[in-house]
């Protein structure tokens, strides 16, 4: 009988790992200078800009427990279907924060998402026809489906990475009777675009997303700190929110493939 002795395996792994060939290590010291105002990354984006983006993301995350519930000085308000996009300066409130918990990855379904169901059952519960992306061609049906108890009209569909529990695409469908909000901190963080020729919004910076419960009082118990890319568009009766790591071009292709 043959078997692999534990010590043999360790020795084998150690030996083979030592033979592993890596790509050449880039000279990072030259690219990184203390207090250098402009240094480009490999893709040509200014490092300073990345500093700003990271700082903004961290600032939002740090402000989160202080600013909940938010009393924001609204500077600009956009609306796409059921989603309001608020550009505001957050003002810390004195009241106790609600139970919102930020997530670190927008494409991760929260472990505490309620209302998991099947696609067939979801179709029976929501008052609209569920349409699925036809692009990519082999995307298939969603791996996870949720109908959230917010007016019973929020449908969330999640597609997972192959062989993983991590999501790479989620599509939310909101009935226009309800309101959702996105909170941004500068009006250049949202880009106007189109889906099927209709107005849409593209956001690819960290932001806060919350539902507004029917009474009209924002309650951030459902709020999430979103880090991924989001495309929002609407038709006559429904608002769609596509959350992913896709580029705008790819996200639009997915959005325009719904059938």
């Amino acid at each position: 009988m043959n078997e692999q002795h534990p010590h043999d395996l360790e020795a084998s792994v150690r030996h083979r790992a030592a033979q592993f060939e890596y790509p050449p290590t880039p000279d990072l010291a030259k690219a990184l200078r203390p207090r250098t105002p402009h240094t480009t990354t490999r893709q040509g984006k200014p490092t300073r800009l990345r500093y700003v983006l990271v700082a903004m993301g961290i600032a939002v995350l740090l402000l989160w427990p202080l600013a909940v519930p938010l009393r924001a000085a609204v500077e600009r308000l956009w609306r796409i279907g059921a989603v309001e996009i608020i550009v505001a300066t957050p003002v810390p409130a004195t009241s106790t924060p609600a139970g919102a918990t930020p997530t670190n990855g927008s494409t991760q379904p929260q472990a505490r998402i309620e209302g998991q169901t099947t696609l067939a059952e979801a179709q029976e519960r929501v008052p609209f026809e569920i349409r699925l992306p036809a692009y990519p061609a082999e995307l298939g049906p969603p791996d996870q489906v949720f109908v959230q108890n917010i007016n019973d009209t929020t449908l969330i569909m999640v597609w997972l990475e192959p062989g993983s529990e991590q999501a790479f695409l989620s599509l939310q469908v909101l009935n226009t009777d309800m309101i959702a909000r996105k909170l941004l901190f500068a009006d250049d963080q949202a880009q106007r675009t189109t889906v099927n020729g209709e107005p849409a919004i593209w956001i690819d910076v960290p932001h806060v997303f919350e539902y507004v419960v029917p009474e009209g009082q924002p309650q951030l118990q459902e709020g999430r700190f979103v880090q991924g890319n989001v495309l929002i568009w609407a038709d006559d009766t429904l608002t769609y929110r596509l959350e992913s790591a896709l580029s705008l071009a790819e996200a639009r292709r997915v959005a325009e493939s719904l059938q």
Partner: protein, 187 residues
Amino acid sequence: MANAHLILRAGQGDEHAWETFVHEHQQAVFRLAYLLLGDASEAEDVAQETFLRAFRALDTFDTTRSARPWLLQIAANLARNRRRSAGRYLHALGRLVRFATPPAPTIAETSAERSEAQTLWQAVKQLNAPDQQIIYLRYFLELSEIETADTLGIAHGTVKSRLSRALGRLRNVIARDFPALREEREV
């Protein structure tokens, strides 16, 4: 302590000290990022971001500690966040289309040993993230048990047991999917 002095001077804006600091650790940081992400350009981005974050935190770094576990910890966290975000869609598309440039490492495999090393890497990548990380740190980057523990933020005494469990799971992966890696001996 040379390490402490270097970090102090780098934090004060001494360019030479900073370059020395980066040169000393960039290979380990880059290699860990590469092992976790499988792409040299992404690994370079993560490595660069690692040192940027380290530079911002130099003022508060405890100079009695070794810097390498700290840097590797930052790199691992950045790589994990990157795995959750941009680029992962490509893996899904990998089911559907063939890329013009193969996503696997482009280094020519000119020897059987290097080929086996690459195959081992493919096997390790089937493990969960904590198992991957401890195997990369201990065997691929050849960190000591103490450095491995410090990087992972675990007690020094638990490295052996965690490694043992990780190797056990690796053995199952090899037996199932990578029979060419099995080293058999008669009992």
